[in-house]
Symmetry: C2
Subunit: 430 residues, 2 copies
């Protein structure tokens, strides 16, 4: 589906950057062949081929059930130095080299990444991630958070508008019905969240990390609540305020440019959709205390976040180029928000396959706008974001990433819904 | 509601057991008065009174909002030695002394325990339970498990029949509709579990810890699956086998007297309702490996267990007299079943208030049969089980205990339900 634009790899196409490591047409040494095979073994021999800078193709041991099965894709290393950089730190350098065009995927990029994830699952690679040891990431200070958020979200609203839905929702949608459009599924997600919070007109809601304001606006418009929504991305808030103003919601939605750690005041419901990924585990207890400080005695709270099946470190390329300061927690780590602060978890729903569908939509739309993205930025940026979107999609289709929605409340709150049947009652959509 | 049969406490009623500590009519010393007040302070001054052996009543500092509010109940210590035993280890001795009739509740037993739990919540007592430090309990070896299970479940089917529903379900019911009877709510619980497992006719199911067999029989009878159900309580299995035989289900339900650790073979669904409380945290990873060893590639699994809002030690009286070897985990602890074994959590539902309703029913029925229980056992037994049932009910109404139903599957399984709407579709009840 999503192929590199340049599929005609010439064996001698060695970049000048390769420096002393390569000369045009240089042959592959026996040791390099063995290193490439070892790299494939490390990935538990996925059905892909590594193509060296001189055109030589290196295959993993064949599938014993089907030895003639064609490879899903070919990973072409365009110069010898790229090969050594990849070997030195594959998790990080794959993204770097791909973005730079020195590593090219011949065939389907998505299928290639999925094949690697699947073979790693089958080989038990997830067991390499030792719970409680690898999730130490640097704390996000107030200043660092601001810098990180600025870097990702202030790229420009025009860029996100190219491939997000109309309401500019940049989190997992909810495909309540299989044939929903992305826009409808984002509306359904917001409605699902509102239902889980059992919002009633006149209530006050605090939202931590409001993106472009779609959920805050939805809650005010369709559930008659008063929302105070916090965000530290200036560009997003400018957009959100303008949209709320246009809809005549100035008196019901307040967008506040401040960090979640500075939230004060009381609310009947607390909601945070897609912010936890930027919080970092060392601040989960802080977030729990923030909710404890503002939630009413019978209030419900909801946190929606990308998660993992077990504690795992972030991909270092994503952590450095896409989401600096980001971390996606396992459920065991998320409990640190709830348990120390004295909350009771009422409901956890894993929407993994919904994020796969969401990303499928985003990636399709992104590819349709690739020329425009190239015009706005450059080739490198186009490839970087393609890899980020396709890689994320592959992680959701193969189970390497999850999406958890957690509803929680105070320990002593007995005004909780007895069942979840009300979430699924058909009612006229707003 | 549930009052002690003997409410006429005479000040001089000092038992012979009190020994050297007391002589009839002995006065209360100043230091004893202060100790009683300190005990009330430790409980964050609940609205109860302590009545000493000579009739002297000691109150916590009054409610500043309502200084004349009557106490919810009076805790009467019938001899001086009982007072000192209670002081020495209140969590354990309260149950011992109550069972022995040396500590009597004047007023509503349930309201009394609820009042204590509520004041402890308000005072933040739950923070005394330090995560990761207090949940070390002795491992349950195969032999020890058998002894523990024998002690609780082999008391006699006739005893449980007095106050359980007709199908003999001794786990949290599901009151899908508010006016359901206990029996209907137990059927609804079993159906809710079957729906969560998305059972289809012809599938094979393994059940770990099957009690008197109600769920295994329900699955075979109403969902056309083949069930292998494990249990180490001999009395329960005799009952379960007879019932399955009477219903003509011998070819579809197999009851196996063996430990969950010895489960072998494959299944399309794995279910365990109310067994985890007997497993103990040191075997959670073992349980995860057992499920990993038997669940098919696309199978769903469900574990239903009493839980906590944070890791907390068991009440020592419950752990010694009622559920030896028992432990009720926080969600953070339960994740040790799923995460190391490579499972993905799909759905967590907290049914706390359903357990409160279930226990309300059990306690009502138990009280109606109290004379019969006394005839089968003795006064001490009647009081012991009254306290266990009322104390558990109070723990569920005040949030000190939870009921978690967790659905999980393999990391790589994409044949998972997209939404939970199917759980709530009205269909003709079997």
């Amino acid at each position: 589906m999503f192929r590199d634009e340049d599929r005609s790899i010439e064996p001698m196409a060695v970049s000048a950057e390769a420096g002393v490591w390569a000369s045009p047409g240089a042959g592959v040494l026996g040791v390099e062949r063995r290193l490439a095979q070892r790299m494939l073994r490390y990935l538990h021999n996925p059905p892909i081929r590594v193509v060296m800078w001189n055109g030589e193709s290196i295959a993993p041991p064949g599938n014993p059930d089907n030895p003639d099965a064609p490879p899903v894709a070919r990973v072409v290393l365009r110069d010898r130095a790229a090969f050594y950089r990849l070997l030195s730190n594959p998790d990080r350098e794959f993204g770097e080299l791909y973005s730079a065009g020195r590593l090219v995927i011949e065939g389907d990029l998505l299928a290639c990444i999925e094949a690697v994830y699947r073979s790693m699952t089958a080989g038990g690679s997830f067991r390499d991630h030792v719970p409680g040891r690898l999730h130490r990431v640097g704390a996000n200070t107030l200043g660092r958070s601001r810098a990180h958020i600025h870097r990702h979200y202030d790229i420009g609203n025009d860029f996100y508008r190219l491939w997000l839905d109309e309401a500019m929702v940049y989190t997992c949608a909810y495909f309540a019905e299989p044939d929903m459009t992305l826009g409808a599924a984002q509306q359904a997600k917001m409605e699902h969240v509102c239902r889980k919070l059992r919002l009633r007109p006149g209530q006050s809601v605090i939202e931590a990390g409001c993106g472009w304001g779609a959920l805050a606006i939805h809650m005010a418009q369709h559930h008659g609540v008063h929302v105070r929504a916090f965000n530290i991305s200036h560009e997003q808030l400018v957009f959100a305020r303008a949209r709320a103003h246009d809809l005549g919601l100035d008196d019901r939605v307040e967008f506040i440019e401040d960090d979640y750690r500075n939230i004060a005041g009381r609310c009947d419901a607390f909601v945070s959709v897609g912010m936890l990924e930027h919080v970092g585990p060392s601040d989960y207890q802080t977030l729990g205390r923030v909710v404890d400080g503002c939630l009413s005695e019978t209030g419900l709270a909801l946190i929606h976040s990308i998660g993992r099946n077990r504690p795992m470190r972030m991909n270092p390329w994503i952590a450095s180029c896409i989401f600096p300061g980001g971390y996606t927690p396992a459920l065991s780590e998320m409990t640190q928000i709830f348990e120390p602060a004295g909350f009771s978890v009422l409901d956890v729903e894993n929407l993994r396959l919904h994020y796969a569908l969401t990303l499928r939509n985003w990636l399709d739309r992104y590819e349709q706008s690739a020329d425009r993205v190239r015009w706005m930025f450059d080739d490198r940026f186009v490839r970087m974001w393609r890899l980020y979107l396709a890689g994320s999609l592959a992680a959701f289709t193969t189970g390497w990433m999850q999406l958890f929605q957690v509803v929680f409340t105070r320990w002593s709150n007995n005004e909780i819904p007895m069942t979840r049947a009300d979430l699924y009652r058909p009612t006229p959509r707003p």
